[in-house]
């Protein structure tokens, strides 16, 4: 039952191009129906998960490698899955009204369906490799969706940035998963949890933690990998709401939560997560005040709030983890509704600039209502759900220095301090977000005159924001249904939360009082504080690093490449030979390989063979010393023909035939290629210096000696019986042919041949494309027009191109054609 549910969005994505042809502008409804049905299906699982602990399903994929598409819905998965499908449902309906019908709706819904499927896969997979694949798929679909308006520069930049950063992190988790898989021998998460102690005591444990957290922090936009999230706001608002605040960025948190029973619970794990979470919390709330784009404020706010959740997971106590799950739920509810509200404002006024927006409450009362509840919940004010989780957060943080971060010593007290400061900023920007935009005189500066949006857009926003009130009204019910199960999955114990508004005068309550008091004072001087914040500009920054990296990478790569790619073929082959020789000679010297040469049992060498060897050797030497390419080519083919003669002498007719034909064809090819080149060797380059020639000669001789040595050693030592007898024995009975060579080629090793002919085809396509597309540039180095270049040929084949003029001479070194010998 579970696997079909996960695959449903992918099937819908595959059908979406066809469906969009059938339903035209109404294709969004199809996507909505799919999402809502999935939501209802997962809702119906709640009772079963509560009874059995989890609902599982799976199909085998590559069982020999331990890679299977196994899935399970436990408490943690259930919470995230309901968020994905629930917020997805609201978002799909919203997007129907948000997007114009002339947008590329088929693309939009295809990508978003792929995303939803991938996200469901991430949150339910119990196999690490499957989890990784779905994880990367979310990055890819996010890339496609951020770049939805790819005609514009900024979405392309944002899409690339998000892709590069999240995929780099994805690479990290792949490494971590493979390490864990290697240590335990299984990719199955329950097996790994059972063997958690083995992993934690392994020498590579720190590497596993760092790689896993790299993936989680990049995905959840934690400092310093947060930079992709603000630029990702170039996506259409439903996407920003769905991917970049409510679900995809939660995947990193999910990963941390999922990995906690396996590799969590140590000082390294908790320390890194808590510190990074706190930094993001602080930095995000600080940066949010500086923004003037509504989505910019929300983006930095998301970074900050995710930092809060991450920090709670790092603290790692049962109360902290329960608070993290509770805040995760609340954050999706209030941030999702705020994004949808922002989209409505953008849609109805034509701008998101907070300088232009004033007093919208009078004309857009529903939006004002949504924004008020969302912002107050975000600020942590009663009586909304945000207050409840914020209170739990402050409690855990106040507890941290004496409890589980005690190893940090007095430095641990910085964490409650940071939490309070960040919460003050959060309070300020949340209140300002509502007050500056919705209160006061109605603006007249917006591109479009503001008016309330239709029901299709406001209803999803209202639904999401009503969750903040519902949770606040019935905290016990929500805690019992969703939060307890999720937290229990992480800690592997049974957790029962008791959420209430009034706990008495606790440190957390006092902290809230401080936050509200100082926050209110700062808000009085909001404009001054904002100006002060804006006046500060950091000389270093992750964005600057990213941009210079993106710009510098190809530049330095080119410099590095230019060192090696000189444009001279003899340099290339020289480098290749020297590199090969360094390794092979080193190994041969270490093993004293020459002592293994054994000349016993060698066949008698005839005069004929010696003669052939002399011809081949003389021709080979001549190749290097001839002054004309044509002669070098002919000498080269002389070597080749001599080799084929050897094959005849050795009674290998197949090889001889092939060698002869290959030699003939390659000689023709050489001659045709030479025809394109100017007269002489390299007339326009300075002659090769003697030193270089000597070095090249030595490399050649050394490589020749290497080949000779290897041949001799291989000939003298037969470590294994030759396979030839097997082939000659079975060629007729199994391959149905008496020519062993051909039977091997097409039957015994047919797969090799298959690959070889593929390579041949690809090579032909490559040559064809290079010649056809690069024709105008290919011979430009010599700066001659093609007709003129033709006259400088020295191929000797005049009938290939008949218009060759034998009497044309212009260059000094061109010899008259009929000069006597």
């Amino acid at each position: 039952m579970l696997i079909p549910l996960i695959l449903t969005p992918f099937i819908a994505a595959a059908l979406m191009p066809i469906l969009s042809k059938i339903f035209k502008d109404h294709v969004g409804w199809v996507a909505s129906i799919v999402t809502i049905s999935l939501f209802l299906a997962f809702i119906s699982m709640i009772s079963e998960v509560h009874e059995n602990g989890s609902e599982t399903g799976g199909i085998t994929w590559i069982p020999s490698l331990g890679i299977n598409l196994t899935a399970a819905v436990d408490g943690l998965s259930l919470l995230i899955v309901l968020l994905i499908t629930g917020i997805g449902s609201a978002d799909m309906i919203y997007s129907i009204f948000y997007l114009h019908h002339h947008e590329r709706l088929a693309n939009f819904y295809t990508f978003i369906m792929i995303f939803m499927g991938a996200m469901l896969g991430v949150c339910t997979s119990t196999n690490l490799i499957a989890l990784y694949l779905f994880w990367e798929l979310t990055s890819i679909s996010s890339f496609l969706l951020i770049g939805f308006w790819y005609e514009k520069e900024n979405p392309r930049y944002g899409a690339q940035k998000a892709m590069l950063i999240t995929v780099a992190g994805g690479f990290g988790i792949l490494i971590a998963f493979l390490l864990m898989g290697n240590i335990i021998g299984s990719y199955d998460i329950p097996t790994l949890i059972a063997n958690a102690d083995v992993i934690k005591s392994h020498a590579l444990y720190p590497a596993i933690v760092l790689c896993t957290l790299l993936g989680a922090f990049t995905k959840s936009a934690q400092v310093p990998f947060h930079i992709w999230l603000p630029t990702a706001m170039e996506a259409p608002t439903p996407i920003s709401c769905y991917l970049h605040s409510a679900t995809m960025v939660k995947a990193g948190i999910y990963l941390i939560a999922r990995m906690t029973p396996i590799i969590g619970g140590t000082a390294l794990w908790g320390g890194i997560i808590a510190i990074v979470g706190c930094s993001s919390l602080m930095f995000g709330s600080f940066m949010a005040i500086r923004q003037y784009d509504m989505k910019g404020i929300l983006a930095y706010s998301t970074i900050s709030q995710l930092g809060l959740i991450v920090c709670l997971l790092g603290l790692g106590t049962e109360a902290a983890i329960a608070a993290a799950m509770f805040h995760l739920f609340n954050h999706s509810a209030f941030k999702g509704s705020l994004f949808l509200m922002t989209g409505i404002v953008d849609h109805q006024t034509g701008t998101r600039d907070v300088h232009l927006l004033r007093g919208l409450a009078k004309v857009m009362p529903i939006c004002a209502f949504v924004c008020a509840i969302g912002s107050f919940s975000m600020a942590g004010l009663p009586p909304f759900s945000g207050f409840l989780s914020k209170e739990l957060f402050l409690e855990s943080v106040a507890d941290a220095p004496v409890n589980n971060l005690a190893f940090l010593g007095d430095a641990a007290y910085i964490i409650p301090f940071v939490a309070v400061v960040a919460s003050i900023f959060t309070f300020v920007y949340s209140i300002a977000f509502f007050a500056k935009i919705f209160l006061g005189e109605t603006t007249t500066q917006t591109p479009k005159a503001p008016k309330e949006a239709g029901f299709g857009m406001t209803l999803p926003a209202l639904t999401l924001v009503s969750m903040n009130i519902l949770v606040a009204l019935f905290p016990g019910f929500f805690a019992e249904t969703l939060i307890d199960g999720a937290a229990s999955t992480i800690t592997q114990t049974s957790i029962h939360m008791h959420i209430s508004f009034w706990h008495g005068i606790t440190p957390a309550f006092l902290m809230t009082c401080v936050i509200v008091a100082i926050g209110a004072i700062i808000y009085m001087r909001y404009d001054m504080v904002k100006a002060l914040f804006l006046s500060y500009s950091s000389p270093i920054g992750a964005n600057k690093f990213y941009d210079s990296f993106l710009h510098g990478l190809p530049v330095y790569a080119k410099k590095l490449t230019d060192i090696q790619l000189t444009g001279r073929l003899h340099d290339y082959i020289g480098i290749t030979f020297v590199a090969t020789m360094v390794f092979v000679y080193a190994a041969m010297f270490r093993a004293n390989a020459w002592s293994a040469i054994n000349l016993d049992g060698m066949a008698q060498v005839d005069v004929l063979e010696i003669t052939l060897a002399i011809i081949a050797a003389v021709s080979a030497v001549c190749i290097a010393f001839f002054k004309r390419r044509i002669w070098s080519v002919l000498a080269l083919s002389a070597v080749g023909y001599t080799v084929s003669f050897y094959f005849i002498v050795m009674r290998a007719p197949d090889l001889a035939l092939t060698q002869l034909l290959v030699e003939t064809i390659s000689t023709i090819l050489f001659l045709l290629a030479l025809y394109k080149l100017p007269f002489g060797m390299i007339p326009y380059d300075p002659p090769t210096p003697n030193l270089r020639r000597t070095v090249n000669g030595l490399i050649g001789v050394a490589f020749g000696f290497l080949a000779f040595s290897i041949t001799m050693i291989a000939q003298s030592n037969k470590l294994y019986p030759s396979i030839s007898s097997y082939y000659s024995q079975y060629a007729e009975t199994m391959g149905g042919g008496t020519n062993i060579v051909n039977v091997i080629l097409v039957d015994f090793r047919g797969f090799d041949t298959m690959g070889e002919i593929c390579v041949l085809g690809i090579a032909a396509m490559g040559v064809y494309v290079m010649i056809k597309l690069g024709r105008n540039n290919l011979f430009d180095k010599y700066g001659t027009q093609p007709e003129k270049a033709d006259t400088f040929n020295d191929t000797g084949i005049n009938s290939v191109v008949i218009e060759v003029d034998p009497y044309f001479q212009e260059e000094d070194d061109l010899i008259p054609p009929y000069s006597p010998l």
Binding site: F626, L657, V741, V767, Y768, P820
Partner: protein, 190 residues
């Protein structure tokens, strides 16, 4: 500056081999010569080979006769390949060599008139080889599983047929296509 003496010695035979085709006075008809792709046209235009040189006309005449033998030998090599020296690869090279011989003799006009799209041979050949391999899968054997048998055909008697030969046909076509695509494109002038 290259050594002139060596250049002269080495260059002279090349030039003789290369340029003995036409008398000097024919240089005025350069544009016309492009059209002389066949023996008949060459005769009509009364080109006289220079004394003592290699007569291109002989090469052209022989080549246009030889090509039939080359094709037959190529097919022969393919057919007997499974039991005797030969096979699809060699046969393909042989056929490509034959076409190249014509190209060398008749030059660019030949390439122009050679309207057959040899590039297509590559995908066709690859598909044949692949589908032969897939046939095994269809019958429940591994990919590239081959079978063989003896079939009695009238006139020819008992014939030895293998499915590997069909695979070999794919190899043959790919080799012909690749060789011609590479060489004719590189050789193609302008």
């Amino acid at each position: 500056m290259p050594n002139k003496k060596i250049d002269k010695i080495t260059q002279a035979p090349v030039d003789m081999a290369a340029h003995l085709e036409y008398l000097p006075e024919q240089t005025a008809h350069r544009s016309k010569r492009i059209e002389t792709s066949t023996l008949k046209e060459a005769q009509e235009q009364n080109y006289k080979p220079k004394d003592g040189g290699i007569n291109n006309v002989i090469l052209k005449t022989t080549a246009s006769l030889l090509i039939y033998f080359i094709i037959i030998v190529s097919i022969f090599l393919y057919v007997v390949g499974h039991d005797n020296p030969g096979g699809g690869f060699v046969a393909g090279l042989m056929l490509a060599g034959g076409v190249l011989l014509l190209y060398l003799c008749f030059g660019k006009p030949f390439a122009k008139n050679f309207s057959f799209d040899y590039k297509l041979l590559i995908p066709i050949g690859l598909s044949i080889s692949f589908l032969t391999g897939m046939a095994g899968v269809v019958f429940g054997y591994p990919f590239l599983y081959h079978t063989f048998g003896y079939v009695t055909v009238p006139l020819f008697g008992s014939m030895h047929l293998t499915s590997a030969s069909i695979f070999d046909l794919g190899v043959f076509l790919v080799v012909v296509g690749t060789t011609l695509t590479i060489i004719l494109n590189i050789g193609e002038n302008k």
